[in-house]
Amino acid sequence: MTSTLIAKGVTKRFGGLVAVNNLDFEIPEKSISSIIGPNGAGKTTFFNCITGFYNPEEGTILFDGHEIQGLAPDRVTRLGASRTYQNIRLFANMTAIENVLVGQHPQMKNGFFDAVFRTPRFNREEKAAVEEARRLLRFVGLRGMGDTLARNLPYGAQRRLEIARALANKPKLLLLDEPTAGMNPNETGELTAFIRDLRDTLGITILLIEHDMRVVMGISEQITVLDYGSKIAEGKPTDIQSNPSVIEAYLGRGAASGLKSAKQTTKEPS
């Protein structure tokens, strides 16, 4: 099986703090993988290294055959990695459909002169883009909300719109940063099914950061556990659940001995 993403020895420092420490990481193609770990373990920092927001000091990240560490975010996106954010970051004063249209930006070609003179190319492209955006909105269940400003959408709809916007990039790899944060169990269940559906119908490789252990254990094929920037465990959900160092990282030293009680812990203690 080929890997969509291969990270080798990735290290990111902030002053004296090592946020990501010599991390090796691989995501198999068309898999659903998760990164978990306590708060401040370096999960989002690692996301930021992949998507070009941060330039790691050391290591290489190979995405789809391209070295992407240190590339500008827009170039990484053009190569086919797209993301959502922990605290929803939509274009608040643009409509839902405009948000999705912005997501299609890299695939479109029309520029300044096309726009001013409304060339045939412009009309063709815009029409297709609007069609596609409508399709994506329907796909994430936001039909009829396209002309609402993003900031006026309900919370769950905003989460889904963010995913629609990321999908508009036509990604090979979709990075979701805590997609179920702030959702009720019902919504969480829907979203989990939706994520699995994304992989199954569109064939997109998915990487999750998630705190809700039910979601993580339910859909991940591979789980990586980070603590203080280093990888402390990796494997299938069942392996992770019984791994003593994971339990130690989550519950502290001493808890590792009481394996049994930890097994029932489905949610990360905050």
């Binding site: 912005v102 029309n110 096309d114 409304r118």
Partner: protein, 590 residues
């Protein structure tokens, strides 16, 4: 504060709900109103504005300012002083008006005791005379004070009564008053417009004759009645008619709608085209200035309104456009001592593309250093750029090329087919065409891939980059386009005046343009027109205003940010999802 303490003390006791008279709030608002009234007096606004009468011999613009301040604050006080009782509205308004008047009376009294003028240059006897109804001071001081207090009280009570009145009646009366003030302000302008035309006599009956100041009393009354009537009609039937028109229009096929819009725009354009013939030289000149500001406003709107890049040095590109035009077409770039150093003698049409291109290039060049800067740093650095350009233009170093502090004279006027277009009337057509072109380009860009990328950068730069938008080229395109528009305005400006000096390109111009797009609504194209009319045309027409122009800009910036950051005509959202074929209510899919 006052609200809290009052409700605290009130809560435990069994005061009936109708006794909610919030006199402390009313008093405090009246106090603020009084401070503002004294302030506008001390800074000289009242006296300067006194030269223009709103209603001849009855009330001047200066007095109107004071009256309006007291009235507006009293209205606010009436509104806040009670939730239920009309009586308390009236009492609150009266209290506020009275307190404001007390402040003014105190000011008058102090001005009689101490010579304030030694420090506050504008506290002149004539200012005091305006505030005291031309009484003999100090003999009639007490009479003046009593009259002042009574006036304040009456104003406050009237404001309170209006607050207590049904909203429909209030709106009718307000619009009547507003129209009287507006027509009173512009009376002189209207009189010059109709001079020598058939309707001169009728207009004179309303506005007063050519030699009089301000409206005639019967004119004011008839304007009031007429405007109130109009307001009554529009309130009663306006909404229904508007809705009717809208639904009928929406029912038309898309192509017909487009043709209809086109026809409306064409008619507006033709009317504007004919306008200078009626405006005459002076007003056409004012219109041209407004037009140049609209050009720059449309440009800055791309940079600030669309892309969210707060550029405070925008005047630099106006200067560059003007200087390229100047250097290229001047018959004599001199050293200021009568010696001609060189002359390229290009025509306007040859130099125009160059001016635009150089400005565009400069926009991109000055854009590069600020690409990675955050909003507020970007603002200060662009301000710095603007100043560097001005300092360079002023310097002796570049004097042999661009004339230093003396600037450039002998710039070619615009000549087309042997006709000089640099007179205000012909120039209006040039400016109009430029505005139409630039407005068209801005409008087309707004709803395109480029425009969406700009807006995305404005909303969240990092996310925009993560969506695959190339920040460098997208931002530079905004800077370049904005600069090119400004360069075009600068080029026309230079040919309009046929001479330029560095003094015309100060920081204040940038602020002027910023203020006009903020009042109109950032990102809104019609907003630019409204902003330019309000902030450029009005001050040009009311010459007394000139001195306080920047004060007003400052107030506009602060007030808009505090109370209406989206502007008077907010950017409209572009509807793209729903078409006539899929009119689905949103609820069914939530």
């Amino acid at each position: 504060m006052a609200v809290e303490t009052l409700s605290k003390t009130k809560a435990p006791s069994a005061v009936p709900a109708t006794m909610d008279f919030n006199w402390k709030t009313a008093g405090r608002i009246g106090f603020i109103g009084g401070i503002l009234a004294v302030l506008v007096s001390v800074i000289g606004m009242v006296e300067t504005f006194d030269g223009r009468d709103i209603i001849g011999g009855v009330i001047s613009m200066g007095q109107t300012v004071v009256v309006a301040l007291i009235f507006a604050t009293a209205f606010m006080a009436a509104d806040r002083s009670s939730k239920t009782s009309p009586l308390f509205h009236i009492l609150g308004g009266g209290l506020s008006g009275l307190i404001s008047a007390v402040m003014l009376a105190l000011f008058v009294w102090v001005s009689q005791l101490v010579n304030l003028r030694e420090i506050f240059v504008n506290v002149s006897p004539s200012l005091i005379a305006i505030l005291t109804f031309d009484k003999e001071l100090p003999a009639e001081l007490s009479a003046a004070v009593i009259q002042l207090l009574l006036t304040g009280l009456v104003l406050g009570v009237v404001a309170g009564v209006l607050r207590a009145a049904p909203i429909k009646i209030r709106n009718i009366i307000f619009s009547g008053m507003l129209w009287v003030v507006a027509i009173g302000l512009l009376g002189e302008l209207i009189r010059t417009l109709v001079t020598g035309r058939a309707i001169e006599d009728q207009v004179a009956w309303v506005l007063g004759g050519r030699l009089e100041k301000g409206l005639s009393v019967n004119g004011a009354v008839s304007i009031f009645i007429f405007a109130s009537l109009l307001s009554f009609i529009s309130q009663t039937f306006g909404a229904r008619i508007g809705k009717e028109v809208q639904t009928r229009r929406a029912a038309l096929p898309a192509t017909t709608q487009r043709i209809l819009n086109g026809v409306i725009l064409l008619v507006v354009f033709l009317v504007l085209w004919q306008l200078p013939q009626y405006l005459g030289l002076y007003l056409s000149d004012v219109a041209n200035t407004v037009g140049l500001y609209i050009l720059m406003g449309l440009g800055l709107n791309i940079v600030v309104g669309f892309a969210g890049l707060l550029d405070l040095g925008y005047v630099a590109f106006f200067a560059i456009g003007a200087y390229v035009m100047g250097v290229a077409t001047s018959s004599a770039v001199g050293d200021g001592r009568g010696q001609i150093l060189f002359s390229l003698n290009w025509t306007f049409w040859e130099a125009l593309p160059l001016a635009i291109l150089v400005a565009l290039f400069a926009g991109i060049l000055l854009g590069i250093p600020v690409l990675k800067m955050r909003g507020d740093y970007l603002a200060i650095v662009t301000l710095g750029f603007g100043e560097i350009i001005r300092i360079m233009a002023l310097s002796d170093y570049l004097k042999p090329n661009i004339g230093g502090a003396q600037g450039i004279v002998g710039i070619q006027p615009i000549i087309l087919a042997g006709q000089n277009l640099s007179n205000p009337i012909s120039l209006f057509h040039v400016v109009l065409i430029a505005c139409v072109i630039v407005g068209f380009v801005a409008w087309r860009l707004r709803d395109s891939r480029v425009g969406r990328a700009w807006k995305a950068i404005r909303e969240d730069e990092d996310v925009a980059a993560a969506m695959g938008i190339n920040l460098v080229s997208t931002k530079l395109l905004a800077f370049g386009a904005g600069a090119a528009f400004s360069g075009l305005a600068g080029a026309i400006f230079a040919s309009k005046l046929t001479s330029i000096q560095p003094g015309s390109f100060s920081f204040i111009v940038s602020i002027n343009i910023l203020a006009l797009i903020i009042i109109g609504g950032m990102g809104s194209i019609p907003g630019v027109l409204v902003g330019a009319l309000a902030l450029v045309a009005l001050p040009e027409l009311l010459r007394e205003f000139a001195e306080f122009r920047l004060l007003v800009y400052g107030v506009v910036l602060v007030m808009m940010m505090l109370y209406k950051p989206e502007g008077l005509l907010p950017e409209e959202t572009h509807k793209a999802e729903l078409h006539e074929d899929e009119n689905i209510p949103a609820e069914s899919h939530a």
